[in-house]
């Protein structure tokens, strides 16, 4: 039987993902946290893991390079990927929030003269404001989004928060919750059909430890 390839996201979801696989008996003694390697084989030879940027995980799965993947639902909401999403893994919970500098937070949304919103999530941001009849210019950033209001690049930001600590340290407060997100198991459409039994076994096992 061919190996099943699993795409895992670099960053905060990586170690809880590996932990879930370990709990269903898929161990990788080969794996070293500090290593720059991006491909690892599980000890039993049934799984291969590839480590990708979170926003790239659905791409690897959609193209069938990986059969399954783990990714935050924020990524799936932001980009339209043709993949199956059979399981909420119930970890990595966080919120996508609209945040503003503390001194402007009390003004309320419709009265605010919001012109520019910096975010890693331009699609969700545009949709949120459009549904409220507000036009904004979204500025796509690739990281450290909190920097944008501090430096005057934007008036507000839309970003993912877990504890809210980073926002606080940068003088920002959440003024609205746009969505909640958690880690999802995603599956390539063709793999889900051709390797149905294996995928069901994996989904069921992961569901039990979620």
């Amino acid at each position: 039987m061919d190996r099943l390839t699993v795409a895992l996201p670099k960053g905060r979801l990586l170690s809880p993902s590996l932990d879930r696989f370990e709990r269903i008996g898929v161990t990788i003694t080969d794996y070293e946290q500090e290593s720059r390697r991006l491909v690892f084989d599980a000890d039993d030879g049934r799984y291969r893991f590839v480590i990708a940027k979170p926003f790239d995980v659905p791409t690897y799965v959609e193209y069938g390079i990986a059969d399954v993947g783990v990714v935050g639902s924020d990524v799936l909401m932001e980009e339209d990927h043709d993949v199956h999403e059979p399981l909420d893994l119930r970890f990595g919970d966080c919120r996508l929030v609209l945040a503003a500098p503390r001194n402007r937070a009390g003004e309320g949304l419709p009265l605010h003269s919001v012109h520019r919103v910096a975010t890693k999530y331009p699609t969700l941001t545009k949709r949120y404001f459009a549904s409220r009849g507000i036009q904004v210019e979204t500025i796509k950033l690739y990281g450290s989004v909190e920097l944008a209001p501090i430096t005057g690049l934007s008036e507000m930001i839309v970003d993912l928060v877990q504890t809210g600590k980073t926002l606080e340290e940068n003088g920002l407060v959440p003024i609205a919750e746009i969505a909640t997100a958690s880690a999802r198991l995603i599956v390539n459409r063709a793999s889900h059909k051709i390797r149905l039994t294996e995928i069901i076994a994996l989904t069921d096992a992961l569901s039990e430890v979620s």
Partner: protein
């Protein structure tokens, strides 16, 4: 008009060259051979049609490249071939003896989109079996598809068979609105059980109905799936759909093809025009489907001639990439390059023609380059020998070691 050459290309289109072109042609001619062996005849329809005609097919207008005719009417590039063929059947082929077996090998055009692919121009081959509503016709299309893909060396082909009537039956006697049904379909399509369960929880539906909709997600597997599905839906539409699918399956069993077939009632996505069987084909070597099809008994009627039909379309571009993985054919090499001095042009042409008639692939020089340059060119292209005709001599320079 001088300056920089314009050589950009629109998104979603591609040049196919050398080995890729050869593989594509090989794929097409193999499929053509398979279709013709089963009695299918070719139909060639125009690249663009009246927009209304394509719209009648029920294809999402968003898919289409539209433009205006000089007369002011709206035209569109065909996004599929089934709709144009339905138009042809309802007009010029109305009187033709049925069943009609038609095939096509053509390009279709769709606006690139994540849900339907990034290619704007796709090569499709397809068959349409027109004029029979018998499950035997559905089974024939499935059988032709399996055999055609196997003939291309794709031994692990898997065809998933669904029946649109099953899902229709499950939802038709409910109070669900059209937008609600769209949400349900979208969640079934993502295989997102929890999200679907949450959505159903908030609807006013009998709990066994909620359960039936949720269980659709598990209806994928062998023949036993049909049995299990029938316990979930006690309405006439679903029952008739399952009976039809069971009959198609029985026939495929008699053809000894069920090892290539999976019953898949979890797939509710499809073109708007399907009314019965839905087929999707896969291979392990590829992360997306290589074939799609189904029964469309109401489509030809939209052009004024009620007539049942079933068919499927092969994605040539994707299939060519797996053929490539399994048997990469070497580009045929040229046998000779003929180099000559001006006074022997007539003789050189005669020699080249004689060799060509014998089945050799021969190039005749058209430039005035040195013999050294001609040899370098022939080596680079892997030409087997250089034939030199100059003054009184005829020399053959063998280049076998050329790579």
């Amino acid at each position: 008009m001088s300056g920089r050459a314009v050589n950009t290309m629109p998104a979603g289109v591609t040049d196919v060259l050398l080995n890729d072109a050869q593989l594509k042609t090989h794929t097409e001619s193999s499929l053509r051979g398979s279709f013709e062996a089963c009695g299918y005849v070719e139909a060639i329809t125009p690249t663009f049609e009246c927009y209304e005609v394509l719209l009648a097919g029920g294809i999402d207008p968003e898919w289409m490249y539209k433009f205006s005719a000089p007369s002011g009417g709206i035209l569109a590039l065909r996004p599929d071939l089934t709709t144009p063929i339905a138009r042809v059947v309802a007009t010029r082929l109305r009187e033709a003896p049925k069943p009609l077996r038609l095939y096509y090998i053509e390009n279709v055009f769709r606006r690139p989109d994540p849900k339907r692919g990034k290619q704007a121009e796709l090569s499709q081959a397809g068959i349409e079996l027109v004029g029979s509503s018998d499950p035997a016709a559905d089974a024939e299309v499935v059988a032709v598809a399996i055999e055609a893909l196997q003939r291309l060396g794709i031994d692990d082909v898997q065809l998933n068979l669904g029946q649109i009537g099953f899902f229709q039956g499950v939802i038709e006697d409910t109070t669900l609105s059209e937008p609600e049904i769209t949400v349900i379909k979208e969640r079934l399509d993502r295989r997102d059980r929890e999200d679907l369960a949450r959505f159903l929880e908030e609807r006013e539906l009998p709990s066994d109905k909620k359960n039936s909709i949720l269980e659709i997600l598990t209806l994928c597997g062998g023949e036993a799936v049909i049995e299990r599905a029938s316990t979930l839906a006690d309405n006439n539409t679903s029952a008739a759909a399952l009976e039809n699918l069971a009959e198609i399956y029985r026939i495929l069993d008699e053809f000894h093809l069920t090892d290539r077939v999976v019953v898949d009632l979890a797939e509710v996505r499809g073109f708007g025009y399907y009314t019965g069987l839905m087929v999707e084909g896969f291979s392990r070597s590829l992360g997306s489907s290589i074939l799609k099809g189904g029964r469309y008994d109401d489509l030809i009627a939209k052009f004024g001639y009620p007539c049942p039909a079933v068919g499927c379309a092969f994605d040539i571009d994707r299939i060519a990439t797996i053929v490539q993985k399994e048997k990469l054919a070497a580009l045929p090499k040229l046998d000779a390059l003929v180099r000559f001095s001006d006074e022997r042009r007539s003789e050189a042409y005669e020699l080249a023609t004689a060799l060509r008639v014998e089945g050799n692939r021969v190039e005749l020089e058209v430039t005035n380059r040195s013999e050294e340059d001609a040899v370098a060119y022939a080596r680079e292209k892997g030409i087997a020998e250089l034939i030199v005709l100059e003054e009184d001599e005829k020399r053959i320079v063998p280049l076998e070691n050329a790579k």
